[in-house]
Amino acid sequence: MNLNLLFSLAAILVLGCVGYFVPNAGLQMFFGVILPYIAVLTFLCGVIWRVMKWAKSPVPFRIPTTCGQQQSLPWIKQNKIDNPSTTTGVIIRMFFEIFLFRSLFRNTKAEIKDGDKISYEWEIFLWVGALAFHYSFLTVLVRHLRFFFEDTLLKEKLFFVGIIETLDGFFQIGLPIVLISGFVLLAAVLFLLSRRVLNPQVKYISLAADYFPLLLIAGIAATGLWMRYIERVDVTAIKQITLGIVSFNWTSIDVMKSVSGTFYLHLFFICTLLIYFPFSKLMHAAGVFLSPTRNLANNSRMVRHINPWNPEVKVHSYESYENDFREKMIEAGLPVDKES
């Protein structure tokens, strides 16, 4: 029995019921306005608090994981990105890490073949899945800016939202135009989820805290797709609500009551995600910036790194050493500092 998965599923179901049914009981104002504020605030404060907590601990040693040739003799070609010795190198390394998941790209699968040969095959799917997941999520987020800005502003200043949308709807299938990012997101989430369920090792290490966010995001994606393609919800009304939230000028309760329960479910899942984020592994998004094995240059032999708590230690001195062995040293003809 995969208790962790069941626990997460149950949690999602309960949350789903709350998000779908409770707002209809006259609580639209709370779920449509107040909760989003709470969620955004919790998210922002939580993330800042967590990052500050990390930043408070010093980095006593410069410990980059070197993944290429060091800077050495001038005629030896350094790998300036995977083993950077300058800040520029570090920035490039971090760029590749954060935007292209460089380390994940290296992934291999170790297997024993023909009874006694270990092979390491390049395993690209996790990288593809992760990249698809994060970038489709980002695209969906950007597209959603449409809900938070006036149309004129979107046309004049935030035209990139329109561009993204056009690109996203590149295939121009059906009406409303199919935006692939939402489907990619759902597919990627399901792929990542299936790994956790099907790969015995990944399953063994998975916690409820690993299934839960995936299911939650799957829920967000599914409700979004449902609203757009199947239920065809009243977008104008929804935009009134969302614009009301960002401009602190909330729409009338009648409009709020007119939109479908799916919208409240969608919003509730999002709020849950925002609130959950700072207290969970989702903080890896910030952690990657602070990882000392990646964000430091391998130059501690060139420039001294300072440890703020560098301890005073007791060192067995040469003097005590000589005191211990003086006679033997003299007998062996080794030089000594004191003759007796």
Binding site: T66, I205, S291, T293, H305, V313, E322
Partner: protein
Amino acid sequence: MVDVVKPEEMIKIDPTPPSTNWMDVPPDFSPGKFPYPSQAKSLEAVGFPNAREWSPADEDWKLPENWQQIIHEGFKERLDKYRSLKVFMDSCVRCGACADKCHFFIGTGDPKNMPVLRAELLRSIYRNDFTTIGKMLGKFAGARKLTPAVIKEWFSYFYQCTECRRCSVFCPYGIDTAEITMMARELLHLLGLSIHWIMDPVSNCNRTGNHLGIQPQNFKEIIEFFCEDIEEITGVTLNPSFNRKGAEVLFITPSGDAFADPGTYSFMGYLMLFEHIGLDYTLSTYASEGGNFGLFTSSEMMKRLNAKMYREAERLGVKWILGGECGHMWRVINQYMGTMNGPANFLEAPVSPITGTKFENARDTKMVHIAEFTADLIKNNKLNLDPSRNDHLKVTYHDSCNPARGMGMLDEPRFVLENVCNNFHDMPESTIRENTFCCGSGSGLNTEEIMDLRLRGGLPRANAVKYVHEKHGVNMLSCVCAIDRAVLPPLMDYWVPGVDVCGLHELVGNALVMEGEIEREMDLRMEDLPGKEGDSDE
């Protein structure tokens, strides 16, 4: 020692995890499954707390009364001191990318040897003690209470990690399980839980200056003995100096190479090289250890042992320090030494007196790796080399974990190899350079009683050697690490019989045409050089 199964048996590895949740699977402390604990006196000698006689095989580990408090406070202190620990505790997403990157997982199939799960052993306590969600949701949030069983599990699995950092290369957040292992071992040491193979060298090194406890007069004798052998092989007389004030360079190398074959041949190689180029250097008996097993106990102990290098350099008044071939020694020198014990303002930025090359990359720490030094000599045509003397060898090269992933010294040794031998073949790409596989016995695990584990951990390395052995007839595995030289021979005998092990500078010594030498008939092992034996009779 426990009997080890046959290779055909050992390689049948089943990586399927058990159906029981890992938190409920107890570690195995049957004979052969754990390294022996250290004796109380080794801990006391360096002032470590809670020294006592105990055994992992016992039910009762005689933990100090307030052990939970010690761990909790020790953990908190380290979270406050190390951003790495905090970020690594919080950021793992359990994607599993690191899982099959660990040689111990590949070789044992034990899920707790997946780096991610190894880290979870500690992380689960972190969640319970330091996070709200962990306190609230317990097991569902991956948290658990600290019990003696957890301590036992830590002892078992943090001594099944060689701190090789291979997992860190593949982790999308750079999570370095080696770093986590270091922290966990520090915590275990607070409870007086340590292993003899680490603590004995540490306390020896503290007093005698080296891991093996070689006293000054014996150290000198050993080196003089090498010189006699060199004279017999080459006809050249060497006069190395000891503890000599005013030398230009202090040379420090791991004591293992003074003690056991095949490391000894590399030591001979160094001595020959220095003689040949006329280097003004001295050896120290006080700082006669390059390695630093303190690294495997606590950062303070590492600092204490490492401090001797600079102290001795200052006392002798040398200009800079040259370091021999050793793996973890170079992790310490490259990433910790300057920070811990610098600035070494009494030294000068290293310049090769032979070529005039300034070692820019070592300008602050003032310590140069012998492979960097020799590569520079060769590049500047300062060495007269006859690589054909190594023609009976088909050589491959094992990147030691620390110089590879804690430094990035990859091409210097390869350049030297290509100049001192004619047959060099690298192993497959996914097993060398930053992807290199550990010997399976690093970080103080090179002890006999866990031979089964070491052979399993060394399997990925050995398997790659086997590949080049079968494909190119490779019969010599070269390396730049004293632990490697001690542990790779039994590994090769077990998995790839017919492959021998040597240090880089043994091959340099073989190829080096010294001034005034007689025609060589033997290599440094005093074995006949093929094609040269009996020449004089004809």
